[in-house]
Amino acid sequence: MQFPREELFAPGHRGCAGCGAAIVARLLLKAAGKDTIISNATGCLEVMTTPYPETAWRVPWIHTAFENAAATASGVEAAIKALKRKRGKYKDKKINVIAIGGDGGTADIGFQSLSGAMERGHDMLYIMYDNEAYMNTGIQRSSSTPFMAATTTSPAGSKIRGEDRPKKDVAMIMAAHGIPYVATACISYPEDFMRKVKKALSIEGPKFIQVLQPCTTGWGYPPEKTIEIGRLAVETGIFPLYEIENGEFRITYKPAKRKPVKEYLKMQKRYRHLTDEDIERIQKYIDEKCKLLGL
């Protein structure tokens, strides 16, 4: 038995067939275990898992607005601390406080509360499930949308070539807060992701993990390719896996030979407008980034 068998994320949720966010939630709960409280920002994951009066969660779960998942989690953490100190509750228990937000709820709207929670040093873990656009409302661009990806608000035409800004590097911004643990992960590497979650939860203080999660509807590919595309994202170097523990940077997965980014781009509808010249430009940008990280 490689993986724990406990299912804390119930089936019957309304995620699309081949949904990556559901895989994030399932793997996260398998790694975190049942002594967990989740604060979930509005987004795909929240909408699809809790159509009232049903819920797919088997752990305590709070829905918060788009902008305050981290603020709610920090409040929960402070409350647990107070209950431990004043009432002697949960004495010998370690309760994991986890906030989850999508890339919109993390990099754009929830950014101030996330930055605040990280800066105040709450003992919590923030998971950003990154599908690179606002998928829940119909694929609008977010600051985490990569360069030249077409979305409904950055459409590709003869003048505009999709998104015109590069992807915001949220993991590095969080690392700049000087928190003890920052990592990036991808659902295509479940052992790596679960190990990072377990490691993060064993460390005291604020932690941040960014998980790349291909989205079948938004990225435009057949649902069975979810894992394959995530793997290609890592193997081409467009999304490197690393962790930063107490300021020490370490690549956790190094592809033997980086694949050309064309393989990754050609599988997705959001990149179908790209010419060979555009692909060359993206490849050059990735090469530079990978050189910087030592990939």
């Binding site: 299912e7 089936p11 949720h13 159509p51 009232y52 049903e54 479940p190 069975e224």
Partner: protein
Amino acid sequence: MVTIAAIIYEPGSSIKNKTGTWRTFRPILDTNKCVKCENCYIFCPEGAIQEDENGNFKIDYDYCKGCLICMNECPVNAITKVREEK
């Protein structure tokens, strides 16, 4: 009736919703070919592939949405697909 603060008291109550009806393609697992690598188990977004009492993996067609990630990720091609017909 809406509960106070819209609290849901029953954990995991979404199991009432049988998502198996969404399926276009049905994945079929051949247990003789299966090497128990657990790829399909861990990558299933629904958790619809579980071990039975003999330790063989089994697909729960009540919840399987037919995304076929399991078929795509199986290293020994033990999972095939057939079109759902009514």
